[in-house]
């Protein structure tokens, strides 16, 4: 890659620039800043779309009272039952059980607090679906003043 070919396709990096290795006009390798490359951006956005699709399916099942809101907050943090279990210090089967509305509603407040802390929400927020159904990280991005890292 030549230095003048280093891509500048800003889309996902929020104005942060990364470094590419490229060859200058004398054939020497130099570090060249880049704001992103389109194929990499596309692959990144595609990964987020897959997370959003999963969330959409989940929201429907939570509204139909077949899953607890915990399932949403787990998936919105890109976690599965196994990963969430290791964060809250439970067995996987216990977390799976709490994904059902009945067992979830019977949880003690301390347990709900542990889940809430691991999932970056308050105990009250854990009980329901948020107004904005984006994945947790992208929600953070929207609420932040533009251009601030």
């Amino acid at each position: 890659m030549l230095k003048k070919e280093v891509p500048q396709d800003q889309e996902v990096l929020d104005g942060v620039s990364e470094v590419f290795y490229a060859v200058d006009e004398n054939g020497r390798y130099v570090l060249a800043p880049s704001t992103g490359w389109e194929p990499a951006n596309l692959a990144n956005l595609q990964a987020w779309d897959a997370i959003r699709d999963e969330l959409t399916g989940m929201v429907a099942r939570i509204r139909a009272n077949r899953l607890s809101p915990l399932a949403y907050h787990m998936a919105a943090n890109q976690m599965d039952a196994k990963l969430l279990a290791s964060y809250v210090g439970l067995f996987v089967w216990q977390v799976r059980r709490h994904l059902k509305p009945g067992p979830f509603s019977r949880l003690k407040p301390e347990m709900k607090k542990r889940y809430a802390e691991a999932l970056l929400v308050t105990a009250a927020e854990l009980e329901q679906l948020p107004a904005d159904l984006s994945p947790t990280m992208l929600r953070i991005r929207k609420n932040r003043p533009a251009g601030k890292a």
Partner: protein, 334 residues
């Protein structure tokens, strides 16, 4: 008060941390050199290891190996610790920072608030250097960022105890003693020996250029085996592993080419310069794969462009890399 620590942005976190720590301790070493001596380059395709339900393809060696190999090959003494208890881990960090020692940490990207949100996935092998504390926050030299950053204590503690694959368990490391002088030539040769034999001499179909061919075969079958939607997700995942932040472009191939260029000067051997040029061309081939793959993901591939064509680009990469690493292996083992 933070100590003075020279932050230099780099393409890859671990080689960047290694380079910055060595430079701080009076032995300026470029990132590319750290990457080459640490034998950072690799290819591996492990379909049975899943990341977000997608098969693992890696363009680099295992996390932690670069720092470990560079320091051992150059005779640098290091101290490494990991912890069970987060408050003990943070207390140990505070003590070292108070003593003015820059400390390398392994962290989980998901919990680092200064990361662009779009990059916050559960990836647990991100390296950074803490060089100071100000109030309830740490001054951090994160090598993939243009400038030093600040991270609140609670967030850093969370990132150090991220769970899941490659969990850092509070791992921290620092340099305790430097040799009188760095003898680069033998270290460079060892690094090249290791990379070239991993790439072409391992008789196992998932590693090195054999791994690239196995991936090519798999890519060809994806549309039939998985259906269009999943095939595209798998393809996008490979592109991310190859091109997302931290690779320097072309799945680390350009960093390695930069290393070979520098190596030719240190070793005074122009043949490495020639190999560096060939490595650059291979990096461009990989980028061609990402471009063609992205056209598929957008649904803009022409009618004549199929997954078999993508597989053929991969095979071309494998052919060039086989030839290059065989030559490199022969050159360094003479």
């Amino acid at each position: 008060m933070p100590i003075s620590f020279l932050h230099r942005q780099s393409a890859h976190c671990e080689s960047g941390v290694t380079s910055n720590l060595l430079t701080h301790h009076g032995a300026p070493l470029s990132e590319a050199m750290a990457f080459g001596i640490g034998a950072g380059l690799l290819f591996g395709y492990f379909p049975f290891i899943k990341i977000n339900k997608l098969p693992l393809a890696t363009f680099r060696s295992a996390p932690g190996s670069i720092f470990q190999r560079v320091t051992s090959r150059l005779g640098i003494r290091v101290e490494r610790r990991s912890f069970k208890n987060p408050s003990a881990a943070m207390a140990a960090l505070d003590r070292m920072v108070a003593d003015g020692i820059p400390v390398g940490l392994q962290t989980g990207v998901y919990w680092l608030p200064y990361f662009p949100p779009a990059l916050r996935f559960h990836f647990n092998a991100h390296n950074l250097v803490v060089y100071g504390a100000e109030g309830d926050a740490y001054c951090i030299s994160d090598p993939v960022f243009p400038d030093p950053v600040v991270c609140p204590r609670a967030d850093l503690a969370r990132a150090r105890f991220a769970r899941g694959a490659l969990a850092p368990q509070g791992k921290m490391y620092c340099i305790t003693a430097m040799p009188k002088s760095l003898d680069l030539a033998p270290a460079i040769k060892k690094g090249i020996q290791q990379v070239s034999s991993m790439m072409v001499k391992v008789p196992f179909p998932l590693i090195g250029t054999r791994g690239i061919r196995t991936l090519a075969k798999a890519v060809e079958k994806w549309p039939r085996r998985l259906g269009e939607r999943l095939a595209i997700l798998h393809l996008g995942h490979i592109i991310r592993m190859q091109e997302e932040i931290g690779t320097g472009g072309g799945g680390f191939r350009f960093i390695y080419a930069a290393f070979l260029q520098e190596a030719s000067e240190v070793l005074g051997d122009a043949r490495y310069l020639d190999l560096s040029r060939r490595m650059t061309a291979i990096g461009d081939q990989w980028r061609e794969f990402a471009l063609a793959g992205a056209r598929h993901c957008k649904g803009r591939a022409g009618a004549q462009e199929s997954f078999s064509d993508l597989a053929n680009i991969l095979r071309a990469c494998a052919d060039s890399e086989t030839a290059l690493f065989n030559d490199l292996h022969a050159l360094v083992n003479r």
